[in-house]
């Protein structure tokens, strides 16, 4: 019997059994293949936790130390695995604490399903204890959300939630379930969702648009590819590599696109954007055809739109029609899934090498190397640089580690200097810039991919926003390597204060605690490095550790991240100092 027949037979002999709404929720999660979820119990979600207790051999619930941590862990899980992350919380404050993670997942297109408990339906709207209108609150930051007040609606709504979260351009979905719906019994059966009438997740790729794109690319003398997370989400890494290699096009990446093509690839010309590499930023304003793939022309990428790639024909490969012409006017828009589009594009491309054009990238890299990179990686001053730490991590991990960064200077340094030799290796909060993202996201990443080395890199500021998740690391025995690059400042804000606010360091200096003692308080092996001669050995010790390890590196207090495109300036006005 072929699988198709089995499937259709299965559908027709749908068996039902009478169970509670809360058991149905857990059964739905298991049906969707959820093995791990992150959350925090409370009054309105207790029936579900009671069922999680019964099903603990099938589904592992991770108790985070704050609901925000649950969302970031679910995001880390999703980002490293490509699967849907799941977070759960109670009503009221439990639910509102999810919002930052949901907003982060929305802007970074991360598939996530959040389930919140809600007060019994007869109390809705009465300002009951721990009641909050979480559907109203989460509306602008979810791909879809829904409140369930009847037990019998649970399977259909949850099936839809997973389908919507994962399909097309992924995003977060929140399902709010009243306590009476959790308690009530009904005849349960489960069917996966494969279609929603009003929702077309992937627009069809128009072959004639692909042909138009190919024509432009083949005629181009100075083409430049800028790829984004659409490559990773669309699992089009191989396709992109094939296109880049066949047509010989220099290819740059946005922060969320990092790792789709290895750092070491000769045509990988680095990161675009505010703290990206010199060459791809400068040459964005010199290329004749700009090929954007699965990226959305964020303002941190484009700088001033008035002076962004005005000389170039713009081709935009994109799954979300709303992104076309949103920020940059496109000459050819190719809608659809990146893998499908690039598969269609590849045979139409002519072999090319663009040697002269590529040489320009190399020349500009040399300038960046002399002015910035050399000093970052091989400093002659006494203080340690953040980049040195990344260099040691690269050496120890052979560039295979997943780097989970927080937000700020260390994040930019991590993205600039980490070797990404495996896809899905750069997990960071790109669009929302959520400080506190890193540590809990690293936990989720490590649990989703236990065979991978996961290194969390935070600054002293962001680290303290979700530092309590060390408790989760300890309880779960998650072997996350936690690095804090400590400069006793909110470094990125301080950098801006130095450059744009006449060095008025308003509330950016941090008086920090004994981080090693805190980690040790959670029974995590910990070490602090203040001198260059100890760094390599300390990083080696951390990377060799089979369990969680905390490493604090005290770095130069007032280092700046360069290159830098000042806010509102043109990409070609990128500063090297």
């Amino acid at each position: 019997m072929d699988t198709q027949t089995i499937k259709s037979q299965k559908k027709s002999i749908k068996t039902t059994e009478r169970i509670s709404g809360s058991e149905a929720i857990v059964r739905c999660l298991i049906e969707e293949g959820v093995d791990i979820l992150y959350g925090y119990p409370g009054g309105a979600i207790m029936p579900v936790y009671d069922e999680l207790y019964k099903y603990q051999d099938k589904i592992h619930h991770v108790l985070t130390r704050h609901e925000q941590g649950a969302t970031h862990s679910a995001q880390g899980y999703a980002r490293i695995s490509g699967r849907v992350g799941v977070a759960m919380a109670t009503s009221g404050p439990g639910a509102t604490n999810l919002i930052t993670g949901i907003a982060d997942a929305q802007i970074d297109s991360t598939p996530m399903v959040c389930i919140t408990g809600q007060v019994p339906s007869h109390l809705l709207g009465s300002d009951a204890f721990q009641e909050t209108d979480i559907v109203g609150i989460s509306t602008p930051v979810t791909k879809w959300n829904c409140q369930v007040t009847r037990a019998e609606d649970i399977p259909e709504v949850l099936a839809k939630a997973f389908y919507i979260a994962k399909s097309g351009r992924p995003g977060p979905v929140l399902i709010d379930i009243t306590k009476d719906a959790q308690f009530n019994e009904f005849d349960f059966s489960y069917e996966k969702c494969t279609h929603v009438r009003s929702y077309k997740p992937v627009p069809e790729t128009d072959v004639s648009k692909v042909e138009e794109a190919a024509k432009l690319i083949n005629a181009a003398k100075k083409p430049l590819i800028v790829w984004g997370q659409g490559i990773i989400l669309g699992e089009a890494e191989e396709q992109l590599k094939a296109v880049v290699e066949k047509a010989g096009i220099p290819a740059a990446w946005t922060i969320l696109g990092a790792s789709a093509i290895p750092t070491s690839h000769p045509l990988n010309v680095g990161m675009v954007g505010m703290h990206g590499n010199y060459a791809p930023n400068i040459l964005t304003n010199e290329c004749d055809v700009l090929i954007a793939i699965g990226m959305r022309f964020d303002d941190r990428v484009t700088g001033s739109l008035n002076t962004y790639a005005k000389q170039a024909k713009v081709i935009h490969f994109e799954i979300d029609p709303a992104e076309i012409d949103k920020n940059v006017k496109t000459d050819v828009a190719v809608l659809g899934n990146s893998k499908v589009s690039l598969d269609l594009l590849l045979p139409l491309l002519e072999q090319n090498s663009h040697n002269e054009w590529h040489q320009k990238f190399k020349d500009l890299y040399e300038i960046e190397y002399e002015k910035v990179i050399k000093n970052d990686l091989y400093p002659t001053k006494e203080g340690l640089t953040m980049a040195e730490v990344l260099k040691e991590i690269n050496i120890q991990s052979e560039g295979k580690a997943a780097i989970v960064s927080d937000v700020g200077q260390h994040q930019m340094i991590a993205c600039r200097y980490a070797d990404f030799n495996v896809t899905k290796s750069n997990i960071t909060s790109g669009g929302l810039g959520t400080m506190g993202f890193g540590l809990p996201a690293a936990i989720g990443a490590k649990m989703a991919a236990p065979d991978r080395e996961v290194v969390s890199i935070s600054g002293d500021g962001g680290y303290q926003m979700t530092i309590q998740e060390l408790g989760t690391i300890f309880q779960q025995k998650a072997a996350v390597k936690v690095v804090v690059l400590n400069n006793d400042f909110l470094g990125m804000v301080r950098q801006w204060q130095q450059l744009f606010f006449d060095k008025r360091y308003a509330s950016t200096e941090m008086v920090n605690p004994n981080f090693v003692a805190i980690a040790e308080g959670y029974y995590i092996k910990a070490r602090k490095v203040t001198k260059r001669e100890d760094l390599a050995e300390a990083v080696a010790e951390m990377m060799q550790s089979k369990e969680a390890y905390f490493l604090e590196v005290c770095v130069e207090k007032e280092d700046n991240v360069f290159p830098m495109i000042p806010s509102g300036a043109s990409v070609s006005d990128i500063r090297l100092e």
Binding site: T139, V196, R197, S198, Y199, K200, A322, K326
Partner: protein, 177 residues
């Protein structure tokens, strides 16, 4: 007219009938600081499909972006925008006026006749006038009646059908398959 210039547009949004969708749609306008001039929701020609008619004053460049954001919503089937020249539309105005004026002020009777307004109800205290048409016609009537004293006045959202065909039914069919 240049695509950068602002003008009134009627946005028609076909949706699944769903609680909370109004919130989702209005949030899209709110984010970009766009004032909704009028809004109407009603069933559409297709069973189970609702239709929002929203009037906004904005440029064509921006309305295209807004439509992209609207169509992205899971429960939105399709949305369209039209300039007011491309649609047949009506707005209704209701005026509540003291009944005594109807008899004391001869001129009111003339105004009613000339404006093609309809008397919906009359009792000894007040009567209610209804006038459908373009906004300017209703405002004109308001201006004429205003000096006599209006007890209550309200104007509905714009409702419209398009001059061109809207291929929503066939679109839905293709979605179902």
């Amino acid at each position: 007219m240049s695509t950068e210039e602002k003008q009134l547009y009627s946005v028609s949004i076909y949706t699944e009938n769903n609680i909370g969708l109004l919130n989702r749609i209005s949030a899209i306008f709110q984010r970009r600081h766009i004032n909704i001039e009028s809004l109407n929701t009603s069933p559409s020609e297709i069973e189970g499909v609702s239709k929002f008619t929203i009037v906004v004053n904005m440029s064509e460049v921006n309305i295209k972006k807004i439509l992209g954001q609207i169509e992205k919503q899971v429960e939105v089937i399709k949305s369209y925008y039209h300039s007011l020249d491309d649609i047949i539309y009506q707005i209704a105005g209701l005026f509540k006026i003291k009944s005594e004026l109807l008899f004391e002020e001869r001129q009111i009777q003339n105004i009613i006749k000339e404006s093609n307004a309809r008397i919906v109800t009359v009792n000894k205290d007040f009567f209610v006038l209804e006038k459908s048409g373009k906004k300017e016609e209703i405002v004109e009537l308001y201006n004429k009646l205003s000096p006599f004293g209006i007890m209550q006045y309200t104007r509905s959202g714009l409702i419209a059908v398009t001059k061109e065909e809207m291929k929503i039914s066939s679109l839905l069919e293709s979605y179902n398959n």
